[in-house]
Amino acid sequence: MRSIVYIFILNLLYAQGVPAGTAIENEAFLNYKVGTEKFSLQSNKIVDIVDQKIDMKIVCQESNPVVVGVGETQRAMAFKLVNRGNGKDSYSFTPIFDSSSDFEVENRMIYQDNGDGFFSVISDTLVDTVELNADENTTLFFVSDIPSNAIDVSANGVKVHSVIYKELLYGESKKLDTYYALMAAKDTALSDMCQYKVSNLALKLEKSATLSSDNLYKGSTIHYRLAVKVVGIGNLSNVIVEDSIPEGTAYVPNTLQLDGVNNGDFNGTAISMNLGEIVQERKSSDTKHLISFDVIVN
């Protein structure tokens, strides 16, 4: 069987490219003479319709292994998915696992970020598929539970499939209505992995909220408390806690406190509290620090 490969020169300068379905027209004009007589004519018009390039890439966004504690739940690792094609595409996902890892995680799920870059089971969306326009990207979170027998390192990630063109291999094409779809994504771009690293020492945050009224109304105040605890024994340094204020609320100035004393910063969208070094000399579930702040419902 003859194998046919169309040569694709994928120019990295053109992240998006001309949209699929665009008509490219070429036409030439001729002038000439016979004796002293002049003639002018034009050629036929050749029209090529731009096909759809199916191309996507997913990349782990964690520059270091994500440190986790044994027994922790819903620990997230971030990935960036980009549609490098020239048309809209839908993607489905398969969690993947490196079987040479030291432990296997549980309850693997994929969430789509709401845009703030932080994982939250409340504000982010559990997804089966994601649709992206050409050159659009999104952040996904691989979320899982760390088992009680976890040790050392576990590599996990996401494999991406084009929902519309899932059966196409690299270089293959499929006829659509007026043009073709060509698979230009190589296997190496379709999946990536991040790593969890178990630490016997980990920071744990417990968040709670109380309302100024029985129900939530415009103008109600929500009082947030972040209890900072340490799992394990050891010293944690350069500890900074950040928390975005919920959409639909506004931070109440001068309410951010650390252990009952005004402290910390608010940057317009999130509070930030520098805790410096935290020392845990013995196993304890006591709260080491309490961060609190108020927001008002818009």
């Binding site: 027209e25 004009f29 016979v34 003639f39 390039k53 060509l182």
Partner: protein, 153 residues
């Protein structure tokens, strides 16, 4: 009599002028032959995605009985395509020049400038708008061709 001859001569001239121009598009295709060797050939363009290089060929044919002279082919570079520098060719001897102002003026590539003052620079491929080929002549019943390559943005 003289008038009759002149009329006949005019009719004869008009009947002999017949140069046609036909444009076609091609893209590279690699196949593996029976010996397992890769063979690269240009085939009719059919799978065109951003980054694809297309070779446009304008075929000329003089189906008349007289010599055609001073043949000038002007090919506007299609929208969304970028000319590939130094890719314009001709089958027979010709002069090739380029435009950056939609065909108002043409110059050789080495003399094709854009901008004024400090911004003046030798035209980049992305700034080319037209290509012109000038062939001195095309014999009766003869064929020739001019071509160029461009990349889909």
């Amino acid at each position: 009599m003289k008038k009759l001859i002149m009329t006949s001569a005019l009719f004869l001239t008009m009947a002999q002028a017949n140069v046609s121009i036909n444009t076609a598009s091609f893209q590279e295709q690699t196949t593996v032959n029976a010996s397992g060797e890769q063979v690269v050939e240009w085939v009719k363009a059919s799978k065109v995605i951003p980054g694809t290089i297309i070779r446009y060929v304008n075929s000329l044919e003089n189906s008349g009985s007289q010599l055609a002279t001073k043949l000038v082919v002007n090919n506007p570079i299609p929208k969304n395509m970028e000319y590939i520098l130094n890719s314009a060719t001709c089958q027979s001897a010709c002069n090739i020049s380029y435009s950056v102002d939609d065909g108002k003026t043409f110059k050789e590539a080495s003399n094709l400038f854009v901008g004024v003052g400090k911004a003046r620079h030798l035209a980049k491929a992305s700034e080319y708008t037209n290509i012109k080929w000038i062939l001195n002549s095309l014999e009766a019943t003869a064929q020739s061709a001019v071509a160029y390559k461009a990349r889909l943005k």
